[in-house]
C-alpha cells in the first residue's frame, strides 16, 4: 500500500491521507483529533441502475431491478455468522445503503474499532451467496419495498422518472419492483458481485482520532490481494430521455401531488466538473426558489405554492435532472405558474448581490457540514465514488461566477426536456 497524496484544507481544518493498494483499492484516512468515535465507510460504484453488464470474459448479463440492493442485504448475512451479530457484540452503529449508482457499507464506534474494521472488510470482501440464503431474505426485502410504495413522494418521483427516461433503470427505485424482487436468484447476485465487487472498484474512507501509520498497518492484512477485472456496464443508460410530457396516476393522497422534471441537456461525465455543476445547480435553485427569492415569495403570496414546495437537482455520469414538486389543489395551474416563473427568472438577470449572499451561506453550510467523524468519512467516500477532489467544494464554490449561474439557468430549464407527473386522489 502506498501513500499517493496528502491533502490539507486550512479553511476546513481537515487533512486527508490518500493511499492505494497494488490492486487498486483506494483508501482515505482522515485524522480527527479529539473525537471519541471512529467511522469507516466502504463502497463502490455499483447501484440500482446497473442492470446490464458484460463480464471480463465476455459474458453478457441482464439482472432484475433491485439486484444491487438485494446483494447489499445478502452481504449482511456474512459467510459464517450474521454481520448483525458480529457488529452487535461490538456495540457498533452500522448500516448499508444502495442508490442508483453506488452501494456503501459503514459503521461508527467508540470502542473495538479494530474488530469492527475487520468485520466490515470481511463481509464486503468475502460473502457467501446461496439460493437458500437468497430465498430467506425475500420477505424482508418485499416489506421494505412495500414501505416505500406507500410514500407519495417516492411514487411521484418514480412516476416522473417514467415520464422522463427511456431507460428502465431510472424508472424503478434501487429497491426494484416487487415482481423483480420475487425472481432475483443467487446466480444474479453472484454475477453482480463478481462483476463489480473487485479491488479496483472498492473505496474506503476512515475518520477518527488515530495514527495514520498504525492504521495503514492494520489495513494491510485485511484487504483483498487479488487482481480481478471489473465488468463493463452496458450502454443502455439513462441519457435517452423519453419525455411523455404529462402522466397522471391515482394514489391514496388527500390532495394532488405534482412533480415537474427537467432532464439536463448535458451532464458532465467527469466527477470534478459534475461537482461544479452540482454547486451551480444548487445555487441556481436557491436563487430561484429558496426562501430568500422574490419569485418564491410571489408564488407563495399568490397561493400557488405552500411549504410543501421543494426543488432539487440530482445527477450522475449519464443522467441529470431538476425536480420541483408540491402539493396543490389545481395541478395545471401549479405547473403553468412554476414554468412561467422559470421563464421569468431566466429572462431577468440575476443580481450580483443575491449571488454573493447565497455563496456566503453555501460556504457556511459546506464548512459546518463536516462536523463529526461519520460526516467526514461519508463526505470523503462520496467524493471518491463520484470522482471529484476531496474537500474541493469550497474551492469550486469560490471559482463559480454569476455568468455560470446564468448559463446554467438557460440550459437547465429547457421546455423540450420537461415532463410532469401528478398523483391524484382516488376519490376525486
Amino acid at each position: 500500500m502506498k501513500t499517493t497524496r496528502t491533502i490539507k484544507h486550512p479553511q476546513l481544518e481537515e487533512t486527508v491521507h490518500l493511499l492505494e493498494t497494488a490492486n487498486g483499492i483506494q483508501i482515505a484516512l482522515i485524522p480527527t483529533p479529539g473525537f471519541h468515535t471512529t467511522a469507516a465507510h466502504f463502497g463502490l460504484r455499483f447501484g440500482g441502475n446497473d442492470l446490464h453488464f458484460v463480464m471480463p470474459n465476455g459474458d453478457d448479463h441482464q439482472v432484475p431491478t433491485g439486484s444491487a440492493h438485494y446483494l447489499e442485504h445478502k452481504l449482511f448475512e456474512g459467510r459464517q455468522e450474521k454481520v448483525f451479530d458480529r457488529f452487535n457484540r461490538l456495540g457498533a452503529n452500522f448500516n448499508g445503503g444502495t442508490s442508483f449508482c453506488q452501494t456503501t457499507y459503514y459503521f461508527s464506534t467508540a470502542a473495538h474499532f479494530d474488530e469492527c474494521l475487520e468485520v466490515l472488510l470481511d463481509f464486503v470482501q468475502d460473502p457467501l451467496i446461496t439460493e437458500e440464503r437468497v430465498d430467506k431474505e425475500r420477505g424482508i426485502i418485499e416489506q421494505e419495498v412495500r414501505m416505500y410504495q406507500d410514500s407519495p413522494g417516492y411514487r411521484g418521483t418514480f412516476l416522473l422518472h417514467e415520464a422522463m427516461y427511456e431507460s428502465h433503470s431510472m424508472r424503478v427505485g434501487p429497491g426494484g419492483t416487487l415482481e423483480d424482487v420475487a425472481r432475483i436468484n443467487a446466480t444474479d447476485l453472484q454475477r453482480c458481485y463478481d462483476g463489480f465487487y473487485v479491488p479496483q472498484a472498492l473505496r474506503l474512507a476512515i475518520a477518527g482520532d488515530f495514527d495514520v501509520e498504525e492504521m495503514k498497518q492494520k489495513l494491510e492484512p485485511l484487504l483483498r490481494t487479488d487482481d480481478t477485472a471489473i465488468a463493463e456496464r452496458s450502454s443502455d443508460d439513462a441519457t435517452s430521455t423519453r419525455l411523455t410530457g404529462y402522466v397522471e396516476e391515482e394514489f391514496a393522497v388527500t390532495r394532488p401531488y405534482v412533480f415537474i422534471g427537467y432532464a439536463q441537456r448535458e451532464v458532465e461525465a467527469d466527477g470534478q466538473l459534475r461537482l461544479r455543476q452540482r454547486i451551480v445547480a444548487s445555487l441556481l435553485l436557491d436563487l430561484m426558489f429558496g426562501k430568500s427569492s422574490e419569485l418564491r415569495q410571489e408564488l407563495y403570496a399568490a397561493e400557488i405554492i405552500d411549504d410543501s414546495f421543494s426543488a432539487y437537482w440530482s445527477a450522475d455520469e449519464t443522467w441529470g435532472h431538476v425536480i420541483m414538486s408540491g402539493i396543490c389543489d389545481k395541478p395545471q395551474k401549479f405547473v403553468d405558474n412554476i414554468t412561467q416563473a422559470c421563464d421569468k427568472f431566466i429572462a431577468n438577470k440575476i443580481k450580483a448581490s443575491d449571488f454573493e449572499r447565497l455563496r456566503k451561506a453555501a460556504w457556511g453550510g459546506i464548512v459546518s457540514g463536516l462536523q463529526t467523524p461519520s460526516a467526514v468519512a461519508s463526505s470523503v467516500l462520496s467524493s471518491m465514488l463520484a470522482g471529484n477532489e476531496i474537500f474541493s467544494a469550497l474551492d469550486e464554490l469560490q471559482a463559480i461566477s454569476l455568468a455560470d449561474i446564468q448559463d446554467a439557468a438557460e440550459n437547465l430549464f429547457d421546455d423540450s426536456k420537461r415532463a410532469v407527473a401528478v398523483l391524484t386522489p382516488k376519490d376525486k
Partner: protein, 427 residues
Amino acid sequence: MSFLQTIPEFHSPANGVTLLGITDQRFKRGVVQILFELPLDASRAARSLLLDVLEQGSAQFPDQTSLARESQNLFGASCELYTERSCESHIVGIQMSCLGEQFLPSGEEVLVPILDLATGILFEPLRGQGAGELFETKYLERERKNLLDMLDERKDDRGEYASERFKSVMCADEEYGKLSWESSEAVAAVTAQQLEDARLEIIQRAEVTIICSGSANVDKVKHWAAQRFDMQRDVIALAEPSIKFPSALRHVNEHLEMEQAKLHIGLRLHLPQEIAGREALIAACSILGGGSHGRLFQKVREEKSLAYGIYSQLHGRKHILSISAGIDASSAAEVEAEVFRQIDLLAIEGPTAYEMELSQANRLNGLAALADSPGAMASFYHGNHVLGLNATPAIRAEACQRLTAEQIQQAATGWQPDLVYLLSAAE
C-alpha cells in the same frame, strides 16, 4: 472506551429561564434551542397557527424574503420555529444553528444576530397595516388555510399517521393522547386576538429552557438571554405526566388505503426514578427490541421474515413502552403473538448472558458516542435534567455495567398490555 464526565453549566439568566450549556469547541457549528413549555391547554391551536403567521416576517424584517436574506448573510445561519407535544406539555421551540466563531472571517459575528433575528419573530412581530390590526389578515387567513391543508395531508404519511393514531387511541383520556394543534376545527376558529394572547403567554408565562450545544458561546447566550427576558414573568407550573394502568387489553383496527400495514403495541409500566432502575428498564427495552440485536428483530424479521423493521421504545417521562412494525396485515396476529411471547419470556426467564452482553455493548457505545454529537449531547443532558437524573454519561455507563440479569428481569416484570393498534387497508 471513555465516557463524557462533563457536568453541564446551568444558569438562570432571568426569572423562569434555565440555560443549559454543554458546548465544545471541537464542533464547527453552534446550536441554540429555546424551549417554551406550557400546558397542553385550549391555547395550543392558537400557538400552532401563531408560529406560521409569525414566520411571515418581523418588525425588523417585514417579509420572509428579508428574513431569509439576513440569515444567509450570517454565513448560512438557520432558525426554525416549531410546536410539538412533548410528553404532556406543549412546546414552542426555536432552534438556531450557526457557524462556530473559529471558522468565521475575522470580525464577523453570527451568534447574537441569529438569536436576535429568530426571537425577534416572536417578541417583535410583524403587525397588520390596518389601524389596530394585530396581524396582517391576509397572512393569517393564508397560513390558516395552509395549516388546515397540512393537517389533512398528514394521512398521506402512513407511518406518522399510524403512530399519531396509536397514541391518541391508547391515551384517549390523557394529555398524552392530545394532538399538538388540538383539531382542525379549533385551528379554523382561532381569532387574531387569540393569537396575540397566545404570543404574550409564550413570552411571559412559559417555562423557558435554553440549550447551548456545539461550539455556541455560552457566555454570549447567557448575556443575551438576560436582556431578552428582562421582564416580569409569571411562569405557569406544569403538572407531572399522569400514570394510568389498563383494565384489559384492547384491539383497535383502523383502515386507510395502504400497501403495508402498521402495527403498534402499547404497554404500561412503572418508570423508575433512580439511575440503576432506569438503566435496567433501558436494558430490558433494548433486549426486547432496541435494534438489530433485539429479540423481536431476531425472531420477527430474521427468523420469520415478517417485517423489515420491528422496534420497541420507551416514551420518555410517560410510563409507556411501545413496539412498532411495518407488516403485511395478514401477519398481524402472528406478530402480536410473538411480541407478547417474547415479553412474557423476558419477564419469566430474564435475559441471557449473551443478550446482556449485546445490550450493554450497544448502550455503552451509544453513551460514549454522545461526545461526538452536539445534538445527542443536548438531548441526553436535557432529558436527564427533565427527569431529575443529573447524571453524566460516565455515571450512566457505570450503572449500566453493574446491571445484573435479575435487575433487568425485574424491570421487565409487570408490563401491562394496553392496546394493539393496527392501521391497514380495508379488506
